[in-house]
Symmetry: C2
Subunit: 246 residues, 2 copies
Amino acid sequence: MKQNIYDNPIFFEQYSALRETGVTANDFVEQPALKSLIVSLEDKIVLDLGCGAGSFAKYCAENGAAEVTAVDISSNMIEKAKKENPHEKITYLCTPIEELELQHQTFDLIVSSLAIHYIADYPSLIDMIKRLLKSNGEFIFSTEHPIVTARKEEISNWVKDGEGNKLHWALDHYQNEGKREQYWYIDGVIKYHRTISTLINILIEKGLVLESVIEPTAIPGGVELRPKLINEERRPSFIVIKARKM
Amino acid sequence: MKQNIYDNPIFFEQYSALRETGVTANDFVEQPALKSLIVSLEDKIVLDLGCGAGSFAKYCAENGAAEVTAVDISSNMIEKAKKENPHEKITYLCTPIEELELQHQTFDLIVSSLAIHYIADYPSLIDMIKRLLKSNGEFIFSTEHPIVTARKEEISNWVKDGEGNKLHWALDHYQNEGKREQYWYIDGVIKYHRTISTLINILIEKGLVLESVIEPTAIPGGVELRPKLINEERRPSFIVIKARKM
């Protein structure tokens, strides 16, 4: 059974409320980095893995993509996507990424925004992505940075002084890959910690060519609108990776 | 003026004494990882940047390399190398890596063990390496892990409880690349912090193809002989990278 927290009503409501503020780390840190790695969407056949409410799929459709297949495990999310971000060039599919069956389709660009840390079997995912990419096709994904997922403690990794000032980020258990359980609106949200070397080497071992790695900070203006994003300077929350099938 | 701590008599004596124990993180963590990335030394023309006392150069010469050029900034180290690790196939040169002039030579393999964090200008170094590599030549290097070099505080990054137990590793200032000054046998040892994305992207931007990234832990038996190496499981001290000139 694949994890589907986004169909938990409490999680869904609170997560949706956060994203709708429009001033999150997604808006000012992760999404700009992901988009910066896309050279062109013109006439591209795109697959979006973990599309959520469809805003990135819509971005692709509105910026020249020929077709966008956008996939999410959560029926809540797919419903919201169809309602809020419908587009004639987008096909929304409700399915776990791991069970995706696209027999005769291949893609110029496969994108995945902050979904891969929910996937238990990364090598099999990369096998699938290699199979689904056209020759010269690109795979661009963001995931939580290993610096952020490493430590097993449930408590915050910001160590604070008596006045609540952040002293430093606590890192531990880096080499111990696997499940991390955390409270995020609800109990028991499961993410998978992988080292940087695993994230990169599996891509290369499966035959993709690494093109870029970004550990993004906030875009100009982001810190003014969401001051805590200054902390991205102190430790990266995300890592964004681009690889190509040759 | 390039930094030359290894010609400081106090540093040189204490560093040499450490390495001569034969039970350091170099022996059980860094060197095995570096060597694991070398597929074959047979008939290879090798350049060793920051060769120290020459043990790695000797390893190359004894394992089939046709020629080894081994370079170090420290005359202490080069003297020691010539005395302790002489070999007809090795040429030892005393020069800062940045000022190396090898007009008509190119190499099958360029190796650098824990020297690159002393180099201020990484992009220029990679330019030089690209120029010195033959087509299909390999560049394999180890450096201090960005997780270890990031934080600016001079105090230890292991945060301990009242009984001296290590609670976690303190990380900070990750995105603030540049000089870090630390006490290591002597005051004012300067290293340069670079992010993982910088270490990797500069290689790619300069036209090399990334082949592997290792964040090594101790080899079997290492922890028994040097118990504190168990901490490499908690945070990596080193990162080892292999790239190829296509």
